[in-house]
């Protein structure tokens, strides 16, 4: 697995490289600005990118723009976007293409190394990983009626599904069996009138699309 790392803070960039390489993920290029990022992403043999939203030259949201640009040129190019803060607005923009292979996480999540590396792998494998804080904001703004029909436990499962977690991961998080999670997810899909998707990633995208359609 060969990734591009884009982060303008040298300390954090070196930390990310060290962390990824310790988990057998090769860093094909490490850049500190959007111009070089564009160039690195144009290379054919990279499998994806881990990048910071805010970078030179303007120190605003060029990381995000570069990600959207790169995915327009190479649809489905896996991109994990890290930021010091998360916005629903940016999550929507990243998810707009509906292709998956997208991650959007607070930088803090790097502290939980195992989960972070797992997130990187899931994104590169075509999955979707969205920060719990974004999901919490989306859930708090829910104005769909059917969501009231969900039990508190089903709502917890829905939030974890929206973050992009598999049934096994949800089961581990909630200390229940995978079978119980499957029962919850089936019930959620019936109550929300969503088509049941076998494939994990399509399931995440369906849930996110439903949540954001309010």
């Amino acid at each position: 697995m060969r990734l591009v790392v884009a982060e303008d803070n040298a300390l954090l960039r070196d930390g990310l490289i060290r962390l990824l390489e310790a988990h057998d993920i090769e860093v094909a290029a490490a850049v500190d600005n959007a111009v070089e990022l564009d160039r690195a992403l144009a290379e054919a043999d990279v499998d994806g990118a881990v990048l910071d939203v805010r970078m030179p030259p303007t120190h605003t949201d060029e990381g995000l723009r570069a990600a959207v640009r790169a995915r327009a040129a190479r649809p489905g190019l896996p991109v994990l976007v890290l930021s010091q803060y998360v916005e629903q607005l940016y999550a929507r923009e990243l998810l707009a293409s509906g292709e998956g292979a997208v991650g959007y996480l607070l930088k803090d999540r790097v502290a939980n190394v195992a989960e972070f590396v797992d997130g990187v792998r899931r994104v590169v494998a075509g999955g979707t990983v969205i920060d719990p804080e974004v999901i919490a904001a989306i859930m708090a703004g829910q104005r769909h009626q059917p969501i009231d029909r969900l039990t508190p436990r089903e709502r917890e499962v829905l939030a974890l599904m929206a973050e992009g977690r598999s049934n096994a991961a949800i089961a581990a998080r909630l200390f229940v069996t995978e079978k119980a999670v499957t029962k919850h997810t089936n019930s959620i899909f019936t109550k929300l009138d969503l088509p049941i998707a076998a494939d994990d990633n399509r399931r995440v995208l369906a849930v996110l699309a439903w949540l954001q359609s309010a």
Binding site: V53, R54, H59, T60, D61, Q84, Y85, E87, Q88, L89, R92, L106, K107, D108, A111, N112, A137, A140, G141, R143, A214
Partner: protein
């Protein structure tokens, strides 16, 4: 502005000659009814005569403005929407009312003679040449006289401006100091305290790592959670200082982000040129954030909307909701703070919120390159 032709000026002169007796009667009536107001019969008379006087003087202001080639604003205190008695009280306290009365008694008679002179010069055709060259000068003199009475002078305007600026500067300084205190407190109680705890936990882990590796691992996990919490605190403080999304996307994008985080649907319509001045964007962003927070907390609304538009260097923001209304500026809802903050930019806030709704909060802030203006009011001419 083109100077009006002698014909047009003569037209003004005719109007002025005819308006003079009306103005005179009007003032006499106003003064009499002012005295009669003690026994209440004068009140309706005042409500009739003073507005008429305003209309007559406004006509003269407009003519003076056209003759002089620059605006002659009326500078009256605003009385829109006030009940009758309250309106009379404002008029009585407004120096402009007394200036207008003075104008009718002193300037208008002199002006009457000047205007009459223009007509007299025109009537016998022999003096036509005199009229052609003289009328502009005579009417200029008349307009200057009217302007001197009916509009505030340059230094008077500056004095008022200084007063307004002194007030808004004091409010801004207070606000800035309070903000700094709040940031200091937030950092002290939040991130700083957590970093201290982090240091202690790491120290403890260091001590126990040899004897009890399992306990040390638990301490390290705890330390990691503390860093996450500290970052959360810092993010909260940063949002209060300058929200990152505002830096990234400007006012429209940041307001859209605010609307997305609301529990009810909030539509955002915006037609702004490009990025506004940064301090202005920040002030307006926090004002909108406060208004939206109020909707979320108190309005019980189904929908909300925000419109942002800029016309003639005036940024107008309307935040509305279909909730239960009854919002008051002094209701302890933070709206007073919004008004104070906007005053530093010569901005104003209007609240319309009848019981049962809808609530409309209108913010107006000058946003042009000429925003530090020397005239606090716009003219009527």
């Amino acid at each position: 502005m083109d100077r009006p032709s002698p014909w047009r000026l003569t037209g003004y002169a005719v109007a002025q000659v005819f308006l003079f007796p009306v103005a005179l009667v009007c003032v006499v009536l106003a003064l009499v009814s002012g005295v009669l107001a003690i026994v209440t019969v004068g009140v309706p008379l005042l409500l009739l005569t003073l507005p008429l006087l305003h209309r007559i003087t406004d006509r003269h202001r407009a003519m003076a403005a056209a003759s002089l080639g620059h605006p002659v604003p009326h500078d009256r205190m605003p009385t829109e929407g006030l009940p009758g008695l309250e309106r009379i009280r404002v008029w009585a306290l407004d120096p402009m009312t007394w200036r207008e009365i003075g104008w009718v008694l002193i300037a208008a008679p002199v002006g009457f003679v000047l205007s009459l002179l223009v007509l007299v010069l025109l009537l016998p055709v022999v003096t036509g040449v005199l009229w052609w060259y003289g009328a502009p000068h005579i009417m200029w003199a008349r307009a200057s006289l009217d302007r001197w009475f009916l509009s505030k002078g340059h230094s008077e305007r500056l004095e008022e401006r200084v007063e307004v600026l002194t007030e808004s500067r004091a409010a801004t300084v207070d606000h800035a100091a309070a903000e700094l205190r709040r940031i200091e407190r937030d950092l002290h109680d939040g991130a700083q305290a957590r970093l201290v705890a982090l240091g202690m936990t790491l120290g403890l882990a260091e001590q126990t790592v040899r004897d009890d590796p399992e306990a040390a691992t638990r301490l390290l996990a705890e330390a990691r959670d503390t860093t996450t919490a500290a970052l959360g605190d810092i993010r909260f403080v940063v949002r209060g200082i300058h929200p990152p999304v505002l830096a990234d996307r400007g006012l429209i994008g940041a307001v859209q982000a605010l609307a997305l985080d609301m529990a009810i649907p909030v539509t955002v319509e915006a037609s702004l040129p490009d990025r506004l001045a940064e301090p202005l964007e920040s002030a307006v962003y926090f004002a909108v954030a406060e208004c939206l927070a109020n909707i979320g907390k108190h309005a019980e609304a189904e929908h909300g909307w925000v419109t942002l538009s800029a016309v003639d260097d005036m940024l107008t923001v309307v935040v509305g909701d279909d909730g239960r209304g009854g919002v008051r500026v002094d209701g302890g809802t933070g709206l007073r703070g919004v008004a104070r903050r906007l005053s530093a930019f010569d901005g104003t806030m209007r609240v319309s919120s009848p019981p049962g709704g809808p609530t409309l909060i209108t913010l107006e802030v000058p946003c042009g390159s000429s925003s530090p203006r020397t005239t606090p009011f716009s003219g009527t001419a």
